[in-house]
Symmetry: C2
Subunit: 304 residues, 2 copies
DNA sequence: GATACATAATGAATACGTTTCATCATTATT
DNA sequence: AATAATGATGAAACGTATTCATTATGTATC
């Protein structure tokens, strides 16, 4: 275990220039250095690598094996070095995102389309496998960014606020609760509540609205896709609590009605959590800015 | 251009052991050395390669690129190093052979079959492209061994005698020249001579027999394959001059007759020419021994 | 939450190996 | 045969990877 890339680079140069002297020039070394280097290798392997008796220096079969190795290895090395340079400049890198809130797909997917165009060298992906416990995954490097609505302490992470939202009760047109301006927890006791299929503690309806009031809905139905939830609500199969940005459009088209939750409404803020180290990386910063813009262009707070 | 294989080997060890301390042990280094090494790389590329905040040390995406490079590169390096070790021990290598004498295929091909079995790691090949001027090709490394019947000076090459042979005039049974015990050059003046399609100076009939006597055959016909030449001679289309080992069998079966050339017969010796450097290499020596054995087991001199 | 343990980071000193320098030997070219 | 050009060689210089000794940090354990 002695061979180094230096040797392979020398071999390539010697072969391409056909002489130690010219190769040395190209490598910014002296002819002597190369001569010593080759000799050391020949010594180490116990077999000649060059035929010295000919004038355009020629390789022995053993030497040719090293040359082939150089040709096989060095391009890959150069490519990776180039990539690392771009990573250092923040042009390239990995952006594996996890979302705690199911509804975020709504604005995240179109955003990623635009992002990919501007940052083609960033490997963007949404990782659903770790969505149950994303913060440790972010800390240990499995993830690079987490969309979350509750910041946690820890100085190795930063939570960048993206935009505020309001959780709204979504109702079919003419639903009896549309008669009330503000809906209280008790109003849901006789309702079917449609939620995403995740733990209750991760659903704000429960953690911040129903559980504090000790209310349990008549029935809870779990549905994966936002579009289906909206269909079911419109079809009077139940009610749902969703962030404002999801229901803005159907409400505008008068396909659905919404009501604020509680006396003052249920508000929250969406954050992008990243490792402190990564915060200043160009492609990270760009993503956060883009996400904030996404809010500005239509996901404003609906004040009920 | 700073990365070295050492760094890749370190990366692999660190990733596989999950800690600098254990990796250092495996690499016969201190933990400190590895720490410095990693830090130098991070410094050089301007980007972190490991996440320090976690206990099983984890790679950043940039670090993972280096690890992938290591996984891609190191197996190839190890393999080539292994091959070079075997080359040094004379177990592996290249044996590109050129034959000056066309008739040598007769004993060379079966010999190579046996040789390949015993030396599977040697790349054996017969190179016909350089047969017109094989000695310089041997000197500059294009060839590794030349079967030749005339040694030339030069201390970078050695000519190892393989076996002696006699050039014999091959005749059809009952041909008029079979009446003579010894055939002189003049006897061929009215004959059709069948030769291999090579320059006259490389044909011993001409260079050592006809030209010294100033005799030209009535007609010269060039044929590539030995078997065809023998057929044509048997069919009375002409006569040929071939080494004894080629005609031993047809003569024994009384399908052809042979006569010595000149008063004392035309004898020669076949040599294996190799670079002096290669002479002691195990697989070269083995080939030469095998070729000599081939002579002993049937290619003895026919004394006319 | 404090303590002990393991592991990594750091700075200075050392040791090692590569490179240079100066020179000689060899090989092509005229 | 003479002369460039190129490669080989040995000793010295240089740079840098490694070690040593120590501190800092983080992880388990009580």
């Amino acid at each position: 275990m002695y061979l180094e890339l230096r040797h392979l680079r020398s071999f390539l140069a010697i072969d391409e220039t056909g002489s130690l002297a010219r190769a040395a020039e190209r490598l910014h070394l002296t002819q002597s250095a190369l001569s010593h280097q080759v000799k050391a290798l020949e010594n180490y392997y116990g077999t000649p690598l060059f035929l010295r008796s000919t004038k355009p220096l020629r390789l022995t079969p053993a030497g040719r094996k090293l040359l082939e190795l150089a040709r096989h290895v060095l391009p890959g090395v150069e490519q990776v070095e180039g990539e690392l340079q771009r990573v250092a400049r923040g042009r390239a890198g990995r952006l594996h995102i996890s979302i705690e809130c199911h509804a975020c797909f709504e604005w995240l997917l179109p955003l990623l389309d635009r992002y990919r165009e501007q940052w083609p060298e960033v490997e963007v992906d949404i990782r659903l496998g770790v969505s149950f416990d994303p913060i440790p995954a972010l800390q240990n490097g499995t993830l690079d960014l987490v969309i979350s609505s509750d910041p946690v302490a820890g100085n190795d992470l930063v939570f960048e606020p993206l935009f505020a939202y309001q959780a709204l009760l979504v109702l079919a047109r003419g639903h009896k609760l549309t008669k009330k301006d503000r809906v209280e927890a008790g109003d849901l006791a006789d309702q079917t509540l449609i939620t995403y299929p995740v733990e209750r503690k991760r659903l704000e309806v429960f953690s911040r609205f129903l559980q504090p009031a000790g209310v349990e809905p008549a029935f809870v139905r779990q549905v994966e896709l936002t579009a289906i939830i909206l269909q079911l609500v419109a079809g009077r199969r139940g009610v749902a609590v969703l962030p404002d940005w999801v229901v803005r459009e159907p409400v505008r088209q008068q396909r659905l009605a919404v009501r604020a939750l509680g006396a003052s409404g249920l508000f929250g803020t969406l954050y992008a959590a990243v490792r402190s180290l990564d915060r200043s990386v160009a492609y990270m910063d760009a993503f956060i800015r883009l996400a904030r813009d996404a809010a500005g262009s239509g996901n404003g707070v609906v004040t009920g």
